[in-house]
Structure formats: structure tokens, C-alpha cells
Amino acid sequence: MSKIFTPTNQIRLTNVAIVRLKKSGKRFEIACYRNKVLSWRNKLEQDIDEVLQTHTVFSNVSKGQVAKKEDLVKIFGKDDSTEICKEILEKGELQVSDKERHSQIESLMKDIATTVADKCVNPETKRPYPVSIIEKAMKDVHFSVNVNKSAKQQALDVIQLLKKEIPLERAQMRVRILLTGKEARKTKDKVVKLAMSVEEETWDSGTANIICLIDPGNFRTLDEMIRTETKGSGQFELLNLKEMVEGEQTL
């Protein structure tokens, strides 16, 4: 006659997402529900019971080893396990669950698209593209998101790719440059080379007043150049961050 093993005092946890925290050389873990930790961290979920499977702090969740009480008191300085759980939830490293990863990638994608839409214009209309069109175009050039790179960095990469798909241009900055002194003329030539187009140029008793559109990528080099070449006497002023048509327009 074989024995049937029926654990009566075991609680089996399913669908566990583990959050770990290493503190003072000890490892602590808590058992959470999947897909809930990030929304707790984003303050979307207010109910702790919807996040924690149990209020116990473990040293190893999968083995079911509960952390020692004296360790908790020694390291966290409190013995309220719920409070300790909250601290671990905030600071610990977590295992990102499927839906969370999905929404992370999605939001990153959206973020990139928004950044692109923000930075670029349609050169024909001087207006930005709607985010949805950028997203569609990103899909068409088979762009895939890298979770470890920042949205801005990837946006700059994808702009180059998108140019093949749709007419797209970086929105230009409008700047005013004031050049004085002997070197003014020489510096001016260098400046004009970097600028996309010069809108206005006036000379007033040896001072050049130039208003021009520049590529945002050249902003830093220009700033540097003007500062070094004119030794601080030249002025570099940003007039308009993005050159684009504003307001609703009827066709």
C-alpha cells in the first residue's frame, strides 16, 4: 500500500514574480504577483495585497525558505514584515514579467516615435508628422527597439533610417549670432558654413548680426567655436528651438 503524500501545511505559490534585495551580504526575496510590481512602482496600484502574494520575507522564495527574524531586525531595523516588503519592493531588483516587458517595449517605441515627431518636420509643409505615421514608418523600415538604449539615442538613429521611407528633416533651430572685433569677418565665414541658411545679416559698425537656421546637431560646435574664436566677445542666442509652422490651418 503506497502512501499518498498530502501536504497540509504547505502553501503553494503560483504565478510568482520575485523581487530580490541584497543588503549587508544577505539576500532577501519577496513573492509578488506577475505584472504588478511595475504598476506599484509607478504608484498606479495602491493596494499592497494586489501586489504581494504573502507578506512574508523569504531568503529564497522557490525553496520556500523564510528569512530569519533576527536578520531582518538587524539589517532593516524593523520587524514589521509589511514595511520591509515595501522597502524591498521599492529598492529590489525585479524580474520583469511578460506583459510588463511588452508594455515596456511598447512605451519605449511610442517614446521614440514621439521624440522623432518632436524633433523632425516634413520639409514640404514645415510641420511635424503625427506620431502614428512615424510609428507606421518605423514598422515599415523594420526597426526594433533596444531596451537598454535610451529613447533619445534610438530616436536619433531611427531618423536616419526613416529618411529613406518618408521625406523627413530635423527641425531647425533659429539662432542669432553677434560677432564683434577684428576677427568678426573670418569667424562669420566659418559660422555660415555650419548654418543651413542665413535669414538676415546686418553689419553695424564692425558688428555682425546674423540670424540663421542651424541643424540642432551643430549647436554645440557653433557655441564652442564662437566662444573660442571671439574670446567671449561674441554672442550666441537661441531664438527658436524649432522652426515650424504653428496653429491650425485650413487647406
Binding site: 503560483t14 504565478n15 504577483y33 496600484e45 515599415d140
Partner: protein, 1068 residues
């Protein structure tokens, strides 16, 4: 077989006295297009048998599929009556509310209208609208009471009941006319009195006041429809018959032994025939006798219907035919469908087309008889006066009235819309069919050639033929090359202008000025040596130029789906003009003098409200989409196309059906690319309300202790980033009356704010010392016009009277107004409650002391404008909110060092005010406002329950539902949120098996009375719902949907209930 060819028509065109320009207007599904069909069939363009089924004027495939007309189109018909030949230009117009702009374009070009009313449904909202439109354009109308067959077969009325019913419907129509008439008369009276006040001493002897109302003086005898005048037709368009009283008077005068003239007078009304004395007596109702109308007409009709349709007695049909003097073909007699038999009988007995065309030619005016009132209305747009027009323009009035086509008369043509057709439809591009003569000559040639060949056959080799062939081939190649060139052109639709010639004569190749709708002759004429660049096109024009010069490349007679090319046309005709694509956007006036004023703008009943964003499915095709949208904009008078700041292309249409048509056009005709369309962008408004007195469980709040944190302070204090300036703001809801008034006076508010801006720009230019003087000068230099001042005064008085009604809290309200927003003209107010700073909005005078704050007032107001433009709930504009500025301090003496880091102070103040307003708004109970459609549905009682269910599901609410007199159908009026209205028509159609069709029209904004952030707070609420409520909050759903669309953050969680996720690992 066409009975009349183009040559005949163009010949008829030259006699304006015998031209009738008419349109058919009615409620949707009252039988306009069916009526048009039977009129067209009289000209043999379509077969008699097919009339009513073919719907010839519905040339678009989607029109045929849906069974509604979507555009107005014209057809020229020939009619002979009273030994005269007439040309009738018939315009069929759509009845659906979404396309009411098309009705306006049709009515504008006509001199007369046929108003069709379904006798079962009676007067419907669109009928009312159509009558109003016809009336306001000064158009004579005739009435067709349609679908009388339904009275017989469907409702099974007795002839006597039917007579009563008919007279009721007629009364309804006349009541609408009377209402229109009296409102206009009273309006005129008011203006007349004002005019009299302006020049009081004109008539010295009139020292007594004329107490009689103008209504009594005004003549309204021609206004009403009455059968004895012969302007009412009783008809059944589907069965192809119709009659006036005159028809039957003629038929029966001999039989009854009564003179035709007399019979005409007594056939309708309370008369009966005394059989003994053979005399017609009055008072049929009193003596319970059958009125003559029933006895003579309806009884006969009823018996025919009963014999053929109800009882299906075949033998009797032939007897009846004999009696009526009609010959039915054997085929008709044998036909199994009794309805067809009936139709062919009735069509021969009392044909609809003859009756109607006779009436049209008799009762409706020809272009020659244009009324001077109408001319004046046409010539002065908006609220302008005819006298205010330039004298040279006033001279043109005579030309309008003359409608003369001699060469020395000026050309005046009005284009009411542009419509696109495929280039292949144009007569130039059609393969020409050969006339008989041409065929004969060709035959002759061929024969000669053959004979020659026979002769030459023996002696000469058949070289010439080969040569000829070669030539042919060469020609073919040339043609092919040309074809390819043209192919590109044909891809683009051609635009034809739908136009009416009011004066003069146009020939193909004539050159005329094209005057845009904003053209003002007095402005242009005052400029000396005006230069008009003859090569200019519409797109080259600046915003204040409205004149181009164009050549009329082609002229057409409009024949429904077809166009017939003509060489010239004279005054009084409706024609199509080609080759004006680049000169005319939607409407325009063509003339050979620039003194001609632009015609007054068309008035549209439907406001475009439904917005969707469109984008190409393939992103690289954006340019084609833009091109397509431009073409669409040109071809449809009611559509708006916007390019938003975000770069989205937004299409604004009148309703769902209209939208569908626009998209169809865009995909198939104009852009020819796949398009993806966003969900409709529904507008919302954000507002605040007074804190509620009772909670959701209907318990009083005050009596319960609320355990939430103590009431937030409604007064919000904000500081600019550098702590230089502090502002205290409180938000409070505006009473409905004030909001309504503000909404009404949008234009006025805009004008005032523009004026203030002007003042500000002046004061900025001048130095501070001269500023004061300058502003005093403003009193004279930049004074507003008297009319404006008067309007402002009226506005102020109204506001004041509302405020006094509202109680002491609002006492000083009017003086406190600082600005209105958003965009300087909305229904939100900025109120100045500060004690030490003075500014006035309405009186636009400012006491300028050396107040440093004055400098920043502009940015302060701008902050308010920004806040009201996008509220905190979901970035939609606010509505009906007042922001009271309790305090504004500004410390000017602080060192300016710190301000450098935070940017200029003006910007800081702006953002601080914006922030403050938003916070103050959030401190109050917030609500969302939804746009509401008013919805009018005529529905059979069988499916009334289903209609109510459909309305209830969508959060709609029924205002009224009346049983329609004499029928089994109800007229239901309901309100429905716009956000819930999509696919409503479709749902209703499927659920009620097509028996109910809603007509939606934007009516107003309404507060959704649910707190978007509601959760149980009071004890009672806890009792009822528990701590956490998880039902659906409608307001919250609206807010979230908008936030998602705009890409704003929502509090939606990935997984709602942690425990309810699918268990992935199965091993235990």
C-alpha cells in the same frame, strides 16, 4: 429612346420666358428621386416601366446601394404645354440632414421648388428646413402630396378618412409657411421702426403711431398651398400617377354637368353635390355628406386600387379601361404582378409627369420674373444693406431683373458648387457616335473605293490601299502617344462648376473675371488703377485679393449623369462650366465687370461636427493624400479639411453618412490610395459645478461626517519661479444663463479683444509719458463703430439683468470681467477681485498709473487663455468657468539676478497663472461636458421598444414621443451624446429592420453629471457600494478615451486583478 435631342434643348435655352429652373426638396425618403424619375421618363431618357426603380439621378454607386441621394444634380427636360414648349431644369436634392448643404446649393440656383411631403409621415424636420430654405431664398414653391397609395393599401383608410387626413397634412404645411411668414414680417417691422426713428421727420402728417401690426398689412395670399389654386398635386410617384384639382375638373365637368371653372373652386373643400338638384352645396361636414373631393376623386381611385390590387379582378380591368378610354397592351393585361398592371393603367389615365410639369410651367416663375427682393438678398451678403453697396454695383440690380441676354448686358453668373466628374464622362472625351449623314458619306466613300479597286484590280497593284493603311498606322501611333499624355490628365477628375446665368450671354472662350466669395466691389473700385494679373490663379492670390481672370473653356447642359456640350448659353439657364478648377474653390461669381458684388453666402443648416484624422496607410503617400484632400474640399461645400499643429490631417464632416461619402470619394476618386481613418475625434468640454449637497446614495452630505481629509482650500496661491510675484486664484462655476449669453456673443467678444490688442500695441510703441495722452486720443482715433458700441451696450445690459436676478453674489460681476477665454471669445471668464488693480474689459479703458503690473497684464491674461484652452481632465477646452483673481502682488524692486535663471518674468507669470488656474479648477468638483445630438426619428410602433432600448444603451434620453396623427408611427425626439452616436444609425437599422432612420443634428453641450473621480466617501455610500467601487464610470471612460487618443498618461493598469491571471506553470 430619347424624345428630344441636344439641339432642341439648346434652342429652347434661348427663350428664357419658357425656362423653369426648379428643384425638388423634401424630407429623406419622401420620394424626391422617384418623382424625378417619373419626370425624366416623360422625356424618354429612361423607360416608363423603370421609373421609380431606376433612380436615375442617383448616379453614384453608394447612392444606389444605400438608397439615399447624396448630391444635388440637375437635368434638363423638355415639356410642351398649352402649345408652348418649355425647358425645365430640374434639380434633385438630397433629403438626409448630413447633406443639407447640397440642398442650399440647389435652392440658390432655382426660381421655384417642388416640395414633396409623404402623406403618411406628414411634415418632418427636413420638410420644415426645406420650406424655410425656399422661403429665405424667396423661391415660389408648389406642393406634392406623395404616397397616396400608402393611404389606400397600407393604412387602409376609407376615402373620407383619407380626405380628412390629407387636409390635415396640408394644414401642417401651411402652418409652417405661416410661421415663416409671420416671423419675417415681424422682423421687418422692427427694422422699419428703427429706420423710422432714424429719419423721423420724413412724413410730417403721420403724427399718430400706427398700432396695426405689419402682419395685417402684409399680403400672404400667394404664400399658402391650396388645391383650388392648383399648386397642390396629389400623387403617388411610385405608381406614376398624380393629379391636381384642375385635372379632375376637366375630366368630370361634362359628366357632372357643372362648368369647369366652378368645379375647380368647389372640388376641394367643404362642398357636396346635391344629387337631386344637381347643384353643389356648402357644408358637407355638417350634413354628413361626402365632400365632392371624396365623391368625385377619391372614391374612384379607391375603387381602382381595390379592383386591381386588393381583389385582383381581372375581368373588370378591361371594362374599366374602356370606361376611362385607356388602351392597355395585351402584355400589360397578362402581367402577373397586379401592381404593374395598376401602374400602367394609372400612368395613362392621370400621368404624374404631365401634371407636375404643367403645374411647374404654370405656377412657377420663369427666370425673367425674378423678384427684386430676391436680387437684393442675393447681392448683399450677411447683414449688409443693399443701400450700402457701391453705386455701380447697385446699377447691376436692373440687369438682374431684366435677365437679358443681349450682347451689351453684363455677364453675371453664380457658381454654387463645384463637382468632380471623371474626365472620361466629358463629351470631348467620349467616342463620338456618327450621325446618319456621316455614315452615309462614309458608306459612299467605301463604295467608291471598292469600285475603284475593281477597276484597278486588273491593271494596277493595290498599292494605294497599303499606303493608306500605313498612314492609318502612323496616325494611330500619334494618337497613342497623345493618349498616353492624356492618361495622366484623365486620372485627375475634372471639376465642373454648377452655375446659373443671371444676366448676359456666355460663349465658349469668353474671358470673365472670377470673383471670390469675399470679394467686395466697393473696396476694389475705390482703389485706383487696379491691376489684375491675367495669369493669376487661385493659389497665387494673397489673402485680400479675390479676383482672377479666366477663360470659359467649355459649357455644358447638365443631363443628370451626362453632360452635353454647348457653345453658348444665355441668361436664365443652369449650366455646367468646365475649366475653372484653378480659379474657383467652392463658390464664386463670374462677371465681366468687377463691380459685381459677390453673392451672399449660402446658409447651411448642418454644422460640421464630426472630426476624424486621416492618414495614408503607406506613409510615403502623404503628398497624394494632401492633393486628394484639396480636391475633396473643392468638390464638397460642407466639408472642412484642417492641418493640425501636430501635423494630423483632420476631416470635419456633417455626420456619419457624409463622412462615409467623403472617404469613399477620397479613396476612389481624388487620392486613389488606401487611407486609414482614426476613430472619430469627439469634442468635450471641461467644467466645474457647485459642490453637491447630496451624495450618490441620495443622502444629505452635511449631516454625515465625511472621513476624507478636510475640505481643500478653494483659493489657490501660486508664485512665479523666482518668487517675485504671487497670485491667489479661485475658480467658480458660471451660471448657465451667463454661459449661454457668452456663447451667443462670441463674435462680439472677439471684436472687443481685437480692439484691446490694438490699443495695447499702440501703447507699447509710444513712450510712457505719451501713453496716457495716446489713450485719451484713442477715444477718437480708434473708436469702435457706433454699431459695435451699441451691441456692447446691449450685451452689458443683458449681463447685468442676469446678474441682478442671480443675487448679491454676482452684483459687481460686469465690472469685474477682465478677459474671456479661450481664444479671447469663449465662455470662461477671468474676474478681477483684487482691490488695488484696475482693469476693465468691456469698457476697454484702463487707468494707467505707474503700476508695474500693467506691463505684465498681457502675459497674465495669456496664462488664463492657455489654461482655459486645455483643462486638466483631458486637455479639452473649459466651458462655463470663472476664475476670480483675489490678489496679485508684484515685487519689482528685487534684484533681477534670479530672474535670469528662470527666463523672463513675463513667461513666468504666464505659466504661474496657467498653473494656478488649473489647480483652482481641480480644487472644485470637476465635470466633463459632452456634445449632444438632437435626434429625430419617425418610427413604426412595432419597433418603438427596440428604439428605446438602443437609445438607452447609448446614454440617450427621450424628450418627446408623439403618435403621428392618423398613422401608426411615432415621432420620437431624443438627445444623444455625440460620443455614443457612432454606428447608431447602423444599429438602429439592423435592430428595427430598417424601419427607423435617425436624423442627427448638433444641439448643445451638456454636463455629464458624474464625477470622473468618484469613489464612495460618505457612510451611506460605503454602505451601498463598499470601500471600492468597480462599476463603469461613464465620465471617466470619456476622459480616458480622450487621454489615450492624445497620448496622455492614464491610470490604467496592466492587470486589474492580480489573482485572476492565467496560471502558467502547470506542474505541481
Amino acid at each position: 429612346m430619347r424624345l428630344v435631342d441636344t439641339r432642341k434643348l439648346s434652342q429652347l435655352q434661348n427663350n428664357p420666358k419658357n425656362i423653369r429652373n426648379i428643384c425638388i426638396v423634401a424630407h429623406v425618403d419622401h420620394g424626391k428621386t422617384t418623382l424625378a424619375d417619373s419626370l425624366i421618363s416623360s422625356n424618354g431618357i429612361i423607360s416608363q416601366r423603370m421609373s421609380g426603380k431606376l433612380r436615375y439621378m442617383d448616379s453614384r454607386p453608394d447612392e444606389q446601394e444605400r438608397g439615399i441621394t447624396m448630391k444635388s444634380s440637375s437635368i434638363a427636360l423638355y415639356h410642351a404645354a398649352n402649345e408652348e414648349e418649355y425647358l425645365v431644369n430640374l434639380i434633385d436634392s438630397p433629403g438626409h440632414i448630413d447633406f443639407s448643404s447640397e440642398v442650399s446649393t440647389a435652392v440658390r440656383l432655382c426660381d421655384g421648388a417642388i416640395v414633396v411631403v409623404d402623406v403618411v409621415e406628414g411634415v418632418c424636420p427636413q420638410t420644415r428646413l426645406a420650406l424655410k430654405q425656399a422661403y429665405s431664398e424667396n423661391i415660389r414653391a408648389v406642393l406634392v402630396l406623395n404616397k397616396i397609395d400608402r393611404l389606400i393599401l397600407e393604412m387602409q383608410l376609407t376615402p373620407l378618412d383619407a380626405y380628412v387626413h390629407l387636409s390635415q397634412v396640408l394644414e401642417q404645411v401651411n402652418a409652417v409657411m405661416g410661421e415663416l411668414f409671420s416671423t419675417e414680417v415681424f422682423e421687418n417691422e422692427n427694422t422699419n421702426i428703427e429706420k423710422q426713428k432714424e429719419h423721423p421727420p420724413v412724413q410730417e402728417d403721420k403724427d399718430y403711431y400706427d398700432w396695426t401690426s405689419a402682419l395685417e398689412d402684409a399680403d400672404d395670399s400667394t404664400l399658402y398651398f391650396s388645391p383650388e389654386q392648383g399648386n397642390v398635386v396629389f400623387a403617388s410617384a411610385i405608381d406614376g400617377w398624380g393629379f391636381t384639382i384642375h385635372t379632375f375638373a376637366k375630366l368630370f365637368s361634362a359628366k357632372l354637368g357643372i362648368k369647369e371653372d366652378l368645379l375647380r373652386k368647389v372640388l376641394w373643400g367643404d362642398f357636396y353635390l346635391n344629387t337631386k338638384t344637381k347643384r353643389v352645396m356648402k357644408g358637407a361636414q355638417e350634413k354628413a355628406k361626402k365632400p365632392l373631393f371624396v365623391q368625385v376623386i377619391l372614391d374612384n381611385l379607391w375603387s381602382i386600387y381595390e379592383t386591381i390590387v386588393s381583389r385582383n379582378e381581372k375581368e373588370k380591368v378591361s371594362i374599366m379601361c374602356e370606361k376611362l378610354g385607356i388602351k392597355l397592351t395585351a402584355r400589360d393585361l397578362r402581367h402577373t404582378d397586379k401592381r404593374v398592371q395598376l401602374q400602367s393603367l394609372m400612368m395613362q389615365w392621370i400621368p404624374l409627369s404631365q401634371t407636375i410639369l404643367n403645374m411647374v410651367c404654370e405656377k412657377l416663375p420663369s427666370p425673367k420674373e425674378i423678384i427684386s427682393d430676391k436680387v437684393e438678398k442675393l447681392m448683399c451678403s450677411g447683414i449688409g444693406d443693399f443701400e450700402a453697396l457701391h453705386p455701380e454695383a447697385q446699377k447691376l440690380k436692373k440687369d438682374f431683373l431684366d435677365c437679358d441676354s443681349s450682347d451689351d448686358k453684363p455677364i453675371i453668373i453664380f457658381i454654387s458648387k463645384m463637382f468632380g466628374v471623371d474626365k472620361s464622362v466629358l463629351p470631348e472625351n467620349k467616342p463620338k457616335s456618327l450621325t446618319e449623314e456621316e455614315m452615309a458619306t462614309r458608306r459612299e466613300k467605301a463604295r467608291q473605293l471598292r469600285e475603284q479597286q475593281k477597276l484597278n484590280n486588273t491593271s494596277v497593284e493595290p498599292v494605294p490601299i497599303v499606303e493608306q493603311r500605313k498612314e492609318d498606322i502612323n496616325e494611330n501611333i500619334d494618337e497613342k502617344a497623345e493618349d498616353n499624355k492624356e492618361l495622366d490628365d484623365i486620372e485627375q477628375p475634372a471639376f465642373i462648376a454648377f452655375a446659373r446665368i443671371f444676366s448676359g450671354k456666355v460663349k465658349r472662350g469668353d474671358k470673365v473675371y472670377v470673383l471670390g466669395p469675399k470679394h467686395d466691389p466697393s473696396k476694389v473700385l475705390s482703389i485706383k488703377d487696379l491691376k489684375i494679373d491675367f495669369d493669376n490663379k487661385l493659389k497665387d492670390l494673397n489673402s485680400d485679393e479675390h479676383i482672377t481672370y479666366a477663360e470659359i473653356k467649355s459649357l455644358y447642359i447638365l443631363m443628370g449623369r451626362d453632360l452635353e456640350s454647348i457653345d453658348e448659353a444665355i441668361a436664365g439657364n443652369i449650366v455646367g462650366i468646365g475649366g475653372l478648377e484653378e480659379h474657383v474653390l467652392k463658390t464664386a461669381t463670374l462677371s465681366n465687370t468687377i463691380a459685381c458684388p459677390a453673392f451672399s453666402e449660402l446658409q447651411y443648416a448642418a454644422v460640421p461636427i464630426l472630426r476624424v484624422a486621416v492618414e495614408p496607410t503607406v506613409p510615403s503617400q502623404l503628398s497624394q493624400l494632401v492633393k486628394g484632400l484639396k480636391l475633396l474640399n473643392q468638390s464638397d461645400s460642407c466639408v472642412q479639411v484642417l492641418l493640425q499643429e501636430t501635423g494630423e490631417h483632420v476631416l470635419v464632416t456633417a455626420g456619419e453618412v457624409h463622412l462615409e461619402r467623403c472617404l469613399e470619394d477620397l479613396k476612389k476618386q481624388y487620392a486613389k490610395i488606401p487611407i486609414s481613418v482614426s476613430e472619430p475625434i469627439v469634442p468635450f468640454r471641461e467644467t466645474i459645478v457647485e459642490p453637491p449637497k447630496i451624495d450618490m446614495a441620495n443622502e444629505e452630505i452635511d449631516s454625515q461626517n465625511i472621513d476624507s481629509k478636510k475640505e481643500e482650500d478653494p483659493i489657490i496661491t501660486v508664485y512665479t519661479n523666482n518668487k517675485q510675484s504671487g497670485i491667489k486664484i479661485r475658480a467658480k462655476p458660471l451660471p448657465n444663463e451667463i454661459t449661454a449669453l457668452l456663447d451667443k456673443s462670441t463674435d462680439l467678444l472677439k471684436a472687443i479683444s481685437q480692439h484691446i490688442k490694438k490699443l495695447q500695441s499702440i501703447s507699447k510703441k509710444e513712450e510712457l509719458e505719451t501713453k496716457l495722452e495716446g489713450l485719451y486720443l484713442n477715444g477718437t482715433k480708434h473708436k469702435l463703430s457706433d454699431r459695435m458700441l451699441k451691441l456692447i451696450q446691449v450685451f452689458e445690459d443683458e449681463l447685468q439683468s442676469i446678474c441682478t436676478k442671480l443675487g448679491p453674489e454676482w452684483k459687481d460681476f460686469v465690472g469685474q470681467i477682465w478677459s474671456a477665454g479661450p481664444r479671447n471669445c469663449g465662455s470662461n471668464l477671468l474676474l478681477n477681485h483684487t482691490t488695488d488693480y484696475n482693469t476693465k474689459f468691456i469698457h476697454h479703458d484702463k487707468e494707467i498709473k505707474d503700476d508695474p503690473r500693467f506691463e505684465y497684464e498681457g502675459s497674465f491674461v495669456n496664462g488664463f487663455q492657455l489654461a482655459t484652452l486645455a483643462g486638466p481632465l483631458c486637455d479639452e477646452p473649459m466651458m462655463g468657468v470663472a476664475f476670480c483673481v483675489e490678489e496679485w502682488t508684484l515685487d519689482k524692486n528685487e534684484v533681477d539676478d534670479s530672474s535670469q535663471t528662470f527666463g523672463p518674468l513675463s513667461g513666468q507669470i504666464m505659466s504661474a497663472v496657467k498653473d494656478g488656474c488649473r489647480k483652482a479648477f481641480q480644487a472644485q468638483p470637476q465635470r466633463i461636458m459632452a456634445a449632444m445630438y438632437s435626434c429625430d426619428i419617425v418610427v413604426d410602433q412595432k419597433v418603438l421598444g427596440k428604439l428605446y432600448a438602443a437609445l438607452g444603451r447609448r446614454g440617450g434620453r427621450v424628450i418627446a414621443s408623439d403618435l403621428q396623427g392618423g398613422s401608426a408611427s411615432f415621432r420620437v425626439r431624443a438627445l444623444l451624446p455625440v460620443a455614443e452616436s457612432f454606428k447608431f444609425a447602423l444599429e438602429l437599422r439592423t435592430h428595427t429592420s430598417g424601419l427607423a432612420a435617425p436624423q442627427l443634428l448638433f444641439s448643445h453641450w451638456e454636463v455629464v453629471d458624474i464625477d470622473p473621480f468618484w469613489r464612495p466617501r460618505t457612510e451611506e455610500e460605503y454602505l451601498q457600494w463598499g470601500e471600492k467601487w468597480d462599476g463603469v464610470n461613464r465620465a471617466k471612460a470619456y476622459v480616458d478615451s480622450v487621454r489615450v487618443r492624445k497620448g496622455l498618461a492614464t491610470d490604467k493598469q496592466l492587470v486589474q486583478h492580480a489573482e485572476k491571471q492565467r496560471t502558467l506553470s502547470k506542474k505541481k
